[in-house]
Amino acid sequence: MNNKAFSIGKGLKLAIFGTVLEGLLAGSNFFILFQVLELIFGKSITFEDIKRTTLMLGIIFVLRLILYTVSYTKSQIGGALVSKNLRVTLGDKLRRIPLGAFTKQRIGYYINASTSEVADYEQILTHKLADITKYVVLLVAVSLYSAFMNIAVGLIMLVSLLLLIPTIQLSIRQVKKYGKAKNLAREENVSAITEYLTGSQTLRSYGLAGEKNKSLRSSMKHYSNISYQYEGAVVPIGFVYMFLAYVAAAAIIFISVNGVVTGDLSIPEMITINMLSLYSCKVEAALYVSLVAYRNLLISKGKIAGILMENEEVKAKEVINPKHFNITFENVSFAYEKDQAVLKNISFEIPENKITAIVGESGSGKSTIFNLISKYYEPASGRIYIGGEGIGSSSTEMVLSNISMVDQDVFLFNDTVKNNLRFAAPKASDEEIENALKQANCDFVYGLENGLNTLIGENGNKLSGGERQRISVARAILRNSPIVLLDEATSSLDIENELLVKKAVLNLLKTKRTVVMIAHTLPIIQLADQILVVKDGGIAESGTHDELLAKNGAYAAMWQASSKLK
């Protein structure tokens, strides 16, 4: 499958063929010059001969011009096609990667791979692949042609071409070896810079900015030194190769001059051989440069291939079609990273059409429970049921079709207000959409320049935080799915918006669904039908507000603290 994604199209192959042909034609100039040489040293050359030669050269030139123009243009188009296919393949692959993989960091990596990495890969591919093929074919042809005149010369040329293989291998090895240290130093440097910038306000007020910040300085210096060391380890390789290539050329001079002296070679042959050998040196230098670029292409290719090989979601075996929407966790354990269990053998029941609130310290595993219900992640052990049907072997899409989510990271599409709602419920009528907006306190949409048809920008960036949250509530109201997961974060809103969002949520709750909410403040959940207190990866307590207060345990302590807050 991978090879298919990276395969080059017919157009590009044709273009490479054309380029190679063009290169051979360029090489055939030497053949013609050889004819001229024989005439010159045969002492019988006339201007007629020169004219005929020029005509030949002219024909070759025009042919090259046509061939190269067509091939080059075709290779550019072929390259663009490679990009297109790779991006489509990546896009298709991304749909099949489990949602849990879409962390903030990883999202950036995916975006970068689909945009810049593909572009880098294609750039080098279209520019270098044809060149490399052309150079290699040309060099082999030149070696063979020379071998006809003198077998030793031909062999030396071939050897000097073959030397490129260990050279490139060595360079790849050096790049790997020193590149690792360089990457490490770069990462450290980036993180030192990030730390410095994030804390620049604090650092400045403590007089730890600029040159006084020793740790930043030393990390930048270290990176600078390592970068230089890397070049020092990689740069000389190419020059050593160049030297060897010219030593080969020097050896050919020696052999060919001797050949003339002993009478094995004619003077025209000697001259042609040396022309070819010097020309080869030039081509080999160009080939080396292209190969180095090609080596870099492998890095981009590796990143793209890495994504294409990521684990995919398990194919849905079962269709779930629950009649009820209570949610059951049965001995569920989960860890994002090995040895750091977030949930430990946790079991609980979330009743249908009631509110269950989850409380606990930050990092206690509240949002992990949400991630597992939504099937972003699979539990390490244990089972999760919706309406008695296990969700383990059904697809994420199928599970999510029963769930509406209102959470801290509202995501909106770069489309109109209306379409953003309609994505959530494709069959909704305009009235239903307007009603949902009303329920969610979204009257502001009528004040936008084109009302419901206003484009709201990338991720809804033309709206304020409170407005975006209310749109996401409207979406959930319209979608009307049997399960609602609620993680409302009103902390970043001003008081007016906070009230509007909360009232919108109240209207959402009226639809009487199975509601699971993460509670950041306690008073709001006093009337919840069930409260789960999560602590150290387990359920410490559960019950209603009054029951839990009576227990005088963890929840009661939290409540006490909470009532002290102003």
Binding site: D49, L65, S200, R204, N213, S401
Partner: protein, 588 residues
């Protein structure tokens, strides 16, 4: 993209390079030497033909030529290698210097100017844009010398042999330049399309990847994938059009560079047939005269790289051009703050604050409230001189803040934001922040910040590295470490930007206690998000309609400020909402 500007950009870079530019110069010199050696193979070739024509070729002479080629190649390769190492040395040293220069400048920049640029943006300048400079210093500059001087040296040599043929050999350049002009003219027509389509592609890819959760939840896979593939298709058809329009020009450029053979063979042949030149000269021109221009081929790529590097220079320059605050008097002894007719505008057009008058007494605890976007944050940013007022004046202890040494000002006003910043160092280092302080003093501050007990439960106590452990601190714990730091620092003026954090109630109670300890005896300005805390403040200032009309204690303010009265009601209402499945429990 005028030429003049380009020069300025690159000469500026050389200025930044400082002493390191001698590495670069040395590298250029070595590259020149190398390209001088580069003509040796051709010279040897020429001598060889000459001898062959004269019939004086001997094995000994062949050996001599062989040795000469090896020797000069060795010199050439060493020069090339040394040039490359020198240029890299100079380049990476310069990169380090430029990075230091930027951080140093940022250390003196007004905080506002720093905050305006997103961290991501500066990060990009510090990492990527500065890295671009290496391309120019270590590669483009020496390569430019190499690509230009090589052909030039050969041309001069050819000129001394036969000036007419030498001039003829550069004829292809005329055609090539014409083709290049045609190519760039066509390419520039696509410039807008390229930028637009690239932007569209990345926006679409961003939405597709970031929105994957929703896309799956709403089963939009097919439609959103279509949007994604449409953007890719758009990009493809644009590049196809560009390839069709400019590809032929580039191809013609490449091949035309070798068209000299078409003039040199007949012209040289005519001269030879008529006895004006030797066979050696004819061959020299037929071979080298037609090849040497090929060396300038990479120049076309170079021009792209050059504008790339230049772009880096300009991005760095943008930061270095931000004016800095320097000089001034010591921080005053008195710590009352007064704003007289203060107005402020970010862009010089829309006023964000207008005619604000406010006096904050020394030791007073003042809350600032107001709807978002009314200018609360701007107000405190002006007091801490993140920006300078557009008109009016802000005084601390009677001294205009603009006259106080900026470093002193930052040092004496502690600004505490909701996002806690910790370095990777130990907890001790994070609280002491570079001051020479005993552990006992640090612990005292930590105790006041309600965090000492927790730190002592850690296996390594105050020596615990935040870098290794950071993920396991809760938001509330991090915040309290920051408060301990501020307690130890003991600056007379405090600005708190207090948002209801996501800390759980027990942690929040501790944080509140810590903040109370911190505020003791200080002049405190609190941007209040939780209106509840305003009751404990001496006075409350309401920012509305870009100014302050009401400053009063809580009770009094409820009477005089309509905005505050409504907010207080909203606040009480929001706090008393209780979610229930019946959805109607709201205690007004």
């Amino acid at each position: 993209m005028s030429n003049k500007k380009e020069k300025q950009g690159l000469s500026l870079l050389m200025k930044w390079a400082g002493k390191n530019k001698y590495y670069i110069y040395l590298s250029v010199f070595l590259a020149l030497l190398a390209s001088l050696c580069g003509i040796v193979p051709y010279y040897i070739f020429y001598r060889m033909i000459d001898c062959a024509v004269a019939g004086s070729l001997s094995a000994a002479y062949g050996l001599k030529l062989t040795e000469a080629l090896i020797l000069f190649t060795l010199i050439r390769v060493i020069c090339n290698g040394a040039a490359s190492l020198c240029s890299h040395k100079g380049a990476y040293n310069t990169l380090y210097d430029v990075r230091c220069m930027v951080t140093e400048h940022m250390a003196k920049m007004p905080m506002g100017a720093l905050n305006e640029r997103s961290i991501g943006e500066i990060k990009c300048v510090m990492n990527e844009d500065i890295e671009k400079l290496e391309l120019f210093l270590a590669h483009n500059l020496p390569e430019l010398v190499l690509y230009l001087s090589g052909p030039m040296v050969i041309f001069i040599w050819l000129f001394t042999i036969n000036n007419k043929l030498a001039l003829l050999s550069i004829l292809p350049l005329v055609f090539v330049v014409l083709v290049m002009i045609g190519m760039f003219a066509r390419f520039f027509k696509f410039m807008d399309d390229i930028n637009l389509s690239a932007g569209q592609l990345s926006a679409t890819v961003w939405e597709y990847v970031s929105g994957m959760r929703l896309i799956k939840a709403y089963n939009m896979s097919v439609s959103s994938f279509r949007k994604y593939s449409d953007a890719i298709e758009g990009q493809f058809s644009m590049w196809k059009a560009i390839a069709g329009a400019t590809g032929p020009f580039y191809a013609v450029y490449v091949v035309l560079l070798e068209c000299g053979i078409l003039f040199l063979v007949p012209a040289g042949g005519w001269l030879f047939v008529n006895g004006h030149i030797t066979a050696g000269v004819l061959l020299l021109f037929a071979f080298i005269g037609t090849q040497y221009l090929m060396d300038i081929r990479p120049l076309q790529e170079l021009s792209n790289n050059l504008s790339f590097a230049l772009n880096g220079v300009n991005r760095v320059k943008e930061i270095l051009d931000v004016p800095i605050f320097e000089g001034g008097v010591d921080f005053p002894k008195a710590h009352d703050i007064s704003l007289d007719n203060v107005s402020f505008s970010y862009d010089g057009k829309t006023m964000v604050l207008k005619d604000v008058n406010l006096h904050i007494r020394e030791g007073e605890k003042l809350a600032v409230v107001g709807a978002s976007g009314e200018g609360k944050s701007t107000l405190i940013q002006l007091i801490a001189r993140f920006y300078d007022v557009t008109s009016g004046v802000i005084r601390i202890g009677g001294v205009d803040v603009r006259d106080i040494k900026y470093e002193e000002l930052l040092n004496n006003i502690s600004v505490i934001f909701q996002n806690a910043f910790l370095t990777k160092g130990s907890i001790y280092e994070n609280i002491a922040m570079g001051q020479k302080t005993t552990l006992e003093e640090v612990r005292k501050a930590a105790r006041a910040a309600q965090i000492d007990d927790f730190i002592m439960t850690l296996p390594e106590g105050y020596n615990t590295k935040v870098g290794n452990f950071g993920g396991r601190f809760s938001g509330g714990q991090k915040q309290r470490i920051c408060i301990a730091r501020a307690i130890l620092k003991n600056s007379p003026i405090l600005i708190l930007d207090e948002a209801t954090s996501a800390a759980d109630p027990e942690n929040q109670v501790e944080i509140d206690k810590a903040i109370d300890n911190l505020c003791e005896g200080k002049t405190v300005i609190i941007v209040a998000h939780r209106l509840g805390i305003t009751e404990a403040c001496d006075r409350i200032a309401v920012v509305e309609n870009k100014s302050i009309y009401h400053v009063a204690p809580h009770k009094e303010l409820l009477d005089i400020s309509k905005y505050f009265r409504k907010s207080w009601l909203d606040y009480t209402a929001a706090r008393s909402i209780k979610y229930s499945i019946k959805g109607d429990k709201i205690n007004e």
